[in-house]
Symmetry: C2
Subunit: 363 residues, 2 copies
């Protein structure tokens, strides 16, 4: 079987790596002719809005998927005319736009921060009255890793802010004073079967994910799974989806979904019976889903900007190094590593050794 | 980093798959332009004795290794002139020839079956007197999967047998009435560090490996490890090596070594902390070795000749499917699958479900 993937970054790369043992060949489409997934699958160099190239890609594979949600709708349409395309276009449309996304959450009874739609400076000011301070102004589309957003602490912060963020459609969210953030990753098959990985505690630094650790048997698991399942069912979703939540006490407050494999699920390659990547491939190709149980204690660290001394890192037992073969550049995700161990105590010792070696931009 | 691999079959394929997450690109050399590792790395189509192509391969990588032991010595030499080549030529030379191999075992005090060198019909008859019946006549080189050998049960079986096996140099071995066969896989680094996987019980059918299951905490582990270590040290070995033994009571009798990653170690991909493939890549590239401890209960089955219904197989939880993308053909290894589970009991239930679905040539 052959799988088409729009996007040839590390997520496409790891999908292709997961597809390979299944005997599934991958063809990836990316505007960069040195896209890092090009080592692992066949690369078509084309702009993401090149619907001719997209049509060609679709013709040469059995099904198509995406490594990111901001695929131009015309491209999705060109692909869909030829072959099954998952996740469905509606899921991309909803996930691309924070307002649609949060509206869906609310319609499904999933708790969100207080919200207001912002179309101009006036609606920003009116929204801030309703939502209250502090609050977070975010562009409706194209924000990630903390980009395209601003925390507003008082009325003074409102001045000129709509223009500052680009005078584009925005959303204002009440600031959640959370204790920590978790994500729950689910996978839904073409027959509507759903599986879920253990919820993950995520630590961000400077707005970027730094560390993810699954929490087996968490009391939050059921509520998180139910929310992911509700959203996946509502969208008739197929593939892997990540749902991020703020945690306050025993309460989960929806942050956002990613209609794709997700950085907070990279630990599943070694830490779960069947990884988020393999399960995504299985779902998109109409194969049965794999088991999502935790194999043992595990933790993942992102490598940002600069590689640590790799030979020293590999000396630590249980380290699984995943290099995306991307050039070093400040703030760029160039690799991740997962540490596995027999016991939590052993994991903690190994993680301490690794942390001492990390020369992470995120400190 | 870049790794060159002579041979583009499933072993090369799985080495390339293991190299990829490390950020290591692979270039493989194989005479077949549809060699199955070609999906995973870059493929150079050239005969194994094409020393010009071998030289080119070596120039474009950091180090070179092999997926099989029968590499022509001139090719090894052409490679070695350019770049580090592991395992060393001497290890290939010894492993290629059953007489050299068994002589090395004996010189290291490793128990072997009774042996005789056979160069013609006369030395065959004299050897049979010494070794006794039943015994096994094997060509010194190029035998595998039960090919190039014949069991001799009485003097009557000697008649015309030297010519029947091709009048080539042979070795006569006493037939070992063993209870079962095990293998022990070790890896040695460039600094002489050695690590060992748990010994594996191997079940053969019609001379081909059918099933491998690691035996944690086996009383045979130490003796097996010592033998692998002695051979690796004697050869100043670098890389993964498999050593097969016959087991009779608490006694290990050496069968043969393979100076490479080995079919009986495929379970290490999911079942060990760091797989035999990744550890081989690490060793050949001069990186520190990974941990070899068992992650949990695991068993591997070879898929020979014909694929089972894959969608049904994937429904069994804990199944890891490894398809080599080779065409079906009687007696051909085209895939393997590993089953993992939390407990031995769970593994047994899963294995039973899988066995019912296998349409293996080996029955």
């Amino acid at each position: 079987m052959k799988l088409g993937i729009v996007g040839g970054g590390q997520l496409g790369r790891m999908m292709a790596q997961a597809a390979s043992p299944l005997g599934v060949k991958t063809i990836l489409m990316d505007p960069a002719d040195d896209a890092c997934a090009g080592d692992v699958g066949q690369l078509i160099t084309a702009a993401f809005d090149d619907s001719t190239a997209a049509g060609e890609l679709a013709r040469s594979v059995d099904a198509v998927t995406f490594e990111f949600e901001n695929v131009p709708p015309e491209t999705v349409e060109a692909l869909s005319e030829q072959k099954p395309v998952y996740p469905p276009a509606e899921a991309l449309r909803v996930a691309r736009d924070r307002w649609h996304e949060k509206s869906l959450f609310q319609s499904l009874g999933i708790r969100t921060p207080p919200l207001a739609l912002v179309d101009d400076q006036d609606s920003l000011e009116a929204g801030a009255e309703r939502v209250g301070f502090p609050c977070v102004l975010k562009t409706r589309t194209l924000g990630y890793d903390g980009k395209g957003q601003k925390v507003l602490r008082s009325r003074a912060d409102l001045v000129g802010t709509f223009d500052e963020l680009g005078s584009v459609p925005m959303i204002l969210e009440g600031f959640i004073d959370f204790e920590f953030e978790i994500s729950c990753i689910g996978v839904r098959s073409q027959t509507g079967q759903s599986v879920f990985y253990p919820v993950v505690v995520n630590e961000h630094r400077q707005g970027m994910l730094y560390r993810s650790e699954p929490m087996p048997l968490s009391p939050l698991q059921t509520v998180a799974e139910n929310a992911v399942k509700a959203v996946m069912d509502a969208l008739d979703y197929v593939g892997t989806m990540a749902f991020e939540f703020f945690v306050r006490g025993d309460e989960l407050i929806a942050n956002e979904i990613a209609p794709r494999v997700h950085n907070s699920g990279h630990w599943t390659i070694e830490g779960a019976r069947c990884s988020q990547f393999e399960n995504h491939v299985r779902a998109v190709l109409g194969l049965p889903l794999g088991a999502t149980d935790l194999v043992g204690p595990v933790v993942m660290y992102n490598i940002i900007g600069q590689r640590p001394p790799i030979a020293d890192i590999l000396k630590v037992p249980g380290v699984h190094w995943h290099d995306y073969t991307k050039a070093e550049r400040p703030g760029r995700k160039i690799a991740h590593l997962t540490i596995s161990a027999k016991t939590s105590e052993q994991l903690e010792i190994r993680a301490k050794r690794v942390e001492e070696l990390l020369v992470n931009d995120l400190g």
